[in-house]
Each structure stands twice: as structure tokens, then as C-alpha cells.
Amino acid sequence: MTPSITLLGPQRRPTLDRVLSSLGVGGPVAVVNAGWQERESDDAEILALAGGEATNLRLFARWMDVLRADPEYAAAEREHRLVLDELQQLYLIRLDHALQAVSAVAARPDGHANTQAMALEDALAAVRLLDATHVARVQELHGAFYARWRPEERGPIAGHREEVRGLLATAECLVVAGGHVGDLLRVLHLFHLSPHLPPRLVAWSAGAMALAPRVVLFHDRAAQGASLTEVFDAGLGVVPGAVVLPHARRRLRTDDLPRMSVLARRFAPASCLVLDDGVRLDLGPGGALPPDVRLVGDDGRITEGAAA
């Protein structure tokens, strides 16, 4: 059964307690804050906000324990990560060229508008294909890795999976916080949370990104300048048809409408969800977006209510 899902904006001013209360969550809550990495154990505040019966699943600590207890797996995982990093770098090289083609076509000052529109659509289609094949390759590599190393049969991983499953079985709600989306995704997959999700899910920032079918990384204000918006990996897929963009106004040049337009059109038909401070989205059945959702439109503007 698909859980009922609430996505929140960044929790700099926490609203988690009020959200859980409004959802009528009174029972045990399981918390994942593995995106905080080594700071996972600094969980007093988040546990307090999640209520008296909240339990931290400690997925990051469990992962570290697996790496310590199973050096063979640790070495294999390290190698797997290196291969994925290399693939990501090669994808970025190809993506750079493909997006330059989009920009070059879009920037042509004259000619027939229809011709340009067709060429632009084709250039965007090439980017979509690139994104799709990349994420498929990543899944292929994950599949091969899991098939070879069979985590379900490895003592330390199996033991932790069992414990996590037990904690999830008694939980009324799973809360997934933000942080490092790569590590978060890794432990969500490693400890196999997907089939055991409780009836309710509340997530924000990296946690919300991890629930979408694809995790898309973006930062227009990085130290090295605006970087390419890139597809990173598949998420859990329980928020279908969405690309989740936390901190969009802080991290994206939202006033650059052509750039934002390319973003929206590139990921279509998925919707680019803006999850800024103060946002709360209670998804409908099957992960349907609510009417008040903020989306990046085809024209590059952030619109409200586009899903209505």
C-alpha cells in the first residue's frame, strides 16, 4: 500500500511537531536522519519534535557498522562508488555538450520561429534521452552490484535489515530529514526500506528528494559557479511524476527565466516541485500533487496552483 505522504520545505524553523499533530500521528514514529552523516546521533531535537515514541533508525551508524564488520563488502562498495562516480563524470561531459546545444539553439536571434522551436524541442529531447539512459545505467550497475554481493545474505547487513524492518513494522509514520542526499539514498536502499514503509511518510529537503523517481542535483550558486543540473540516481519513487527542488530560490537562479524554462521542459512530463521554506504539501492518493503546489512552469516562472 502506498503511504500517505507529506512533503515539507526546509526545517530551519521546524514545523514537524505541528505537522505530525495535524496528521493525527499519535503512535510510534521512525526517524531517518542519515543525511546528517556523522551528526546523525545529534538527534535530540528531531526526536523531541517527532514525539515521545520516536525512534531513530540510525541508518548511517548501521552503514558504518556494516563497513567495519564486513571488509569484503566495504571494499566492493568502495569500488562500486568509484565506478558510479566515473560514470557520473562521463555523463556530465556529455550533458555539458547537450545543454550547450540547447542554449545555442535557444539563443539564435533570427530565423523562423517554428523552425527554432522544433530544433529546441529536439535538443531538449536529446537531453531527456541522455538523462534517461544515464539513470538506467546507474540502475544497471546497482543491479549488478547487488546481484553479485547479495546484501540480503551478508550477516551484518541482514541483521540490520531485520532490526530496521522490526522498527518500521511498529511505526505509524516515517520521518525522513534532509542532508547528504547521496548517503541518504544509499542507506535507504542498503537497508531496504521501500517494501516496509509505514502508513505515513513525512519528508523534507534531501528526504523529499529521495522519495521521487529521480534524484536531480542542482546548484546555480556553487563556489565554482553555476553547475549543471544533473540526474544523480533513482529515488524510492513513491512521489511519482515529480522532480523535487528543495531550497529552489536559494540554490537556483530563479530570475533567469530561460534557464528555468529549460529545467522545467527538460524534466517534463515530470513536474518540478519547488520546496522552499514554509511549504507543506499533503499529497493525494497515489502521490497526486495538491492544488496549491508550486511548480516551475514551461516559461520558467514559479507558479502556484498549476496542479489544480
Partner: protein, 387 residues
């Protein structure tokens, strides 16, 4: 502090000239009110006070005379020179005076700002718009990495090679780190605050968690001037040692050589000798002196092997790394050779990012470029964090 000109547009020094009486007390009041050099827009007034027959500001801005005379303010012991320095400039200088046959050169006693290098210290003028980046200063929030000393018996160099290894905070043996090898490592640590810079840039997620090997030269001008022995040391001794003892990526993409000045030549020549080994180079104010015709390069004997190497490289450019970050100060003698190398590297198939700064051949120039360089070579995981 940058002083603003008055509404009349007159420089402070010109206002002083009109003071009546223009005496020692007026000069005292003037110096008490102004930070020296007096920076007003793009006009910088250098000052020296004392008795002398002549006085100069000595600096190394290419295009300007090395020694520019100060003029004495009539009736006072104050000497002044107004120089136009474009926004963002940072200029190192000293004062020189002559008393009879005696010449003396020293740092500006009216300016507390100093820049340090292995050659000693000098005064420094921050023109309008220059600010010391906050990431070069210690940040108590940044978790410090660790420096470990390593001594390697180098057959290539015929000596013990000392290497200072930086391990980033939260170093984990189960992770994989990219490697940066820094030439003139001791100087980068001492004069370019590189440990602090690394701690801060990694903490801010601008730069990936990186293992850095700071190497220390022996006979620097020999080892760094296109030396086979030095290249062999890096590629056949140091690299295998580090990659076998530390959790490093161990692939081309995760290896970078960094060097400034002659260190830039050393980095390029090591990559040239082993073109499949290093993914990136950081070349700051590289001493890429070359000749288009003849042999008169003007650099002295130490540059002979450098010129030979650079000439050969320019004649037959070779792709020696995937990516090259280059920087140079526009006030350096080396600005033209560095600009000339950009298209040479690009034509060889390397991706080049080139930046210039209004600065000279100095450690603080190289320090200030580290963020651009390292965040490009090994971008931090900012893109992965969504708190």
C-alpha cells in the same frame, strides 16, 4: 579602510598641500587621520616621512618602473607618490631612500600590512575593492584536518624526501579520496595558509574531502626545472606509496598536481612525462618562459632547461591531463607567457580554466586563487547537501 574623495574630487594629499601652515603638525594630523597608503577610488597615495636626498616606491608591477620616485612636500619631511591602481589590485612594495651615497630599502613604516615569502617580507597595498577572502582566516566552525609527516627514501632524487600529508577532518579509511600533490608544500602551508584554506573550503563544501601531499624540494631550481628525477619521484615513488597506504581514488581523475612559479613547471613536466597518470593540473603563475626565436630569454641560467622544455612543449603540444587550472597576476612578468600557454593547452585537447588577478608573483595571490582552483578541480559536495 578606503577613504572617499571629498565632493570637490580633490585627493587628501592635495588638500594637505593647501593647508596653512603646512608644517609638521599638519602632517601629524594628516597621518593620524589616514591609513597609508591612502586609497581614494583608484588613486593610491604612497607616503614616507623622513630626511633623505631621494626616496622611491619599489614594486614589481610589469609596465611600471621598478622604482618610482616619491616627491617631497615642500616645507615638510613628507614624501608622496600617487599611483593609479585599478579596482581589486593588491600590490607588494617597499620604500627605498638615498642619503648621500647610502641606499636603504625597507618596509613602509606607515603601513602595518605585510606580506611574507621565503625571500622575506614586504609591505602591501590593498587597492579599492580588494578584500582578504574570509576563507583564508581560521574558522572555529571548520573541523581541522590533520598533518602527518612522511619520509620517503627516494632513489630518483638520491635523498630522503619529506612529505607533509594532509588528511581531511572526518577522514575514513573506508572512503575514497582524491589526491592533490603540492609543490613547494612548506611554503604553501606557511605563506598561503593552505591548511586553513583546506579546512575552510572542505567545511564549506566548496571543495571535496581531499588528501593533500605537500612536497618539499631539495635543490629547487634543479628539481623543478623539468627534471626527470623529480618527475620519477612523483610518479614512480610518491604516488605508489600514497596510493598503497591511503584510501585514494587511485585513478587519473583523482590525481592532481599543483605548483606555482617553478613549481608549475615541475607539475607540467611531471605530467608531460606521464601523460596518462594525472587528471588535473593547477598551474599558478607558471614560469613558462619561452622564446619564439633565438635563445635570449632573459631569465638567467636557471631558466635554460625551463625554456628548452616550454619551447619543446609549444612546438609539439601534448595532452598531459584532462583539465588544467591556470592563474596569473596581471602585474607579473609572467603574465604574457601564461596567457600564451592557454591556447597551447586548449589546442592539445585539455580543458582549461584560466583566471587573472590584479596581483603580483606572490604567495597571497596564489592563496587567493586556491578556492577557484580547488573547487574546480575537486568540486565539493554542495550539490549533494539539502539540509
Amino acid at each position: 579602510m578606503t577613504a572617499a574623495r571629498t565632493g570637490s574630487g580633490r585627493l587628501a594629499i592635495n588638500r594637505l598641500k593647501s593647508a596653512k601652515p603646512l608644517d609638521a603638525e599638519a602632517v601629524d594630523r594628516f597621518l593620524g587621520r589616514h591609513e597609508v597608503p591612502v586609497v581614494e577610488g583608484d588613486q593610491c597615495t604612497f607616503l614616507w616621512r623622513g630626511e633623505a636626498d631621494e626616496a622611491w616606491v619599489c614594486q614589481r608591477i610589469v609596465g611600471l618602473p621598478d622604482r618610482i620616485p616619491l616627491r617631497r612636500l615642500r616645507g615638510t619631511d613628507l614624501w608622496q607618490l600617487v599611483l593609479e591602481l585599478p579596482e581589486g589590485s593588491r600590490v607588494e612594495y617597499q620604500i627605498e631612500i638615498r642619503r648621500g651615497d647610502h641606499y636603504e630599502r625597507f618596509n613602509d613604516p606607515l603601513n602595518e600590512k605585510r606580506s611574507h615569502s621565503p625571500m622575506g617580507s614586504s609591505s602591501v597595498c590593498f587597492a579599492a575593492g580588494y578584500e582578504t577572502p574570509d576563507w583564508v582566516l581560521p574558522d572555529p566552525e571548520a573541523r581541522p584536518g590533520e598533518l602527518k609527516e612522511l619520509v620517503l627514501r627516494s632513489r630518483a632524487l638520491g635523498r630522503d624526501a619529506h612529505v607533509t600529508v594532509y588528511l581531511p577532518a572526518r577522514f575514513r579509511p573506508t572512503a575514497s579520496y582524491p589526491l592533490l600533490v603540492v609543490h613547494d608544500g612548506g611554503d604553501f602551508l606557511q605563506y598561503a595558509s593552505m591548511k586553513t584554506v583546506l579546512d575552510n573550503l572542505i567545511h564549506r563544501l566548496d571543495v571535496a574531502e581531499t588528501v593533500v601531499a605537500f612536497t618539499h624540494p631539495g635543490e629547487r631550481l634543479d628539481e623543478y626545472a623539468n627534471s626527470t628525477a623529480h618527475s620519477r619521484f612523483l610518479t614512480q615513488e610518491l604516488l605508489p606509496e600514497l596510493e598503497s597506504s591511503l584510501p585514494l581514488v587511485g585513478q587519473r581523475a583523482g590525481r592532481c598536481l599543483l605548483g606555482s612559479s617553478f613549481g608549475g613547471v615541475a607539475a607540467l613536466s611531471a605530467a608531460y612525462r606521464s601523460p596518462d597518470t594525472y587528471g588535473s593540473l593547477v598551474l599558478m603563475s607558471g614560469s613558462f618562459v619561452f622564446t619564439d626565436i633565438g635563445t635570449d630569454h632573459g631569465g638567467g641560467p636557471a631558466f635554460d632547461p625551463v625554456v628548452k622544455f616550454v619551447n619543446r612543449f609549444r612546438a609539439k603540444p601534448r595532452c598531459v591531463a584532462d583539465r588544467v587550472f591556470m592563474s596569473c597576476g596581471v602585474y607579473e612578468q609572467l603574465i604574457v607567457p601564461n596567457r600564451s600557454m592557454v591556447h597551447v593547452f586548449e589546442n592539445a585537447g585539455m580543458q582549461v580554466r584560466y583566471t587573472e588577478a590584479r596581483d603580483g608573483h606572490s604567495w597571497e595571490n596564489w592563496r587567493d586563487r586556491l578556492r577557484d582552483a580547488l573547487s574546480w578541480v575537486y568540486p565539493g559536495p554542495q550539490k549533494l547537501y539539502y539540509e
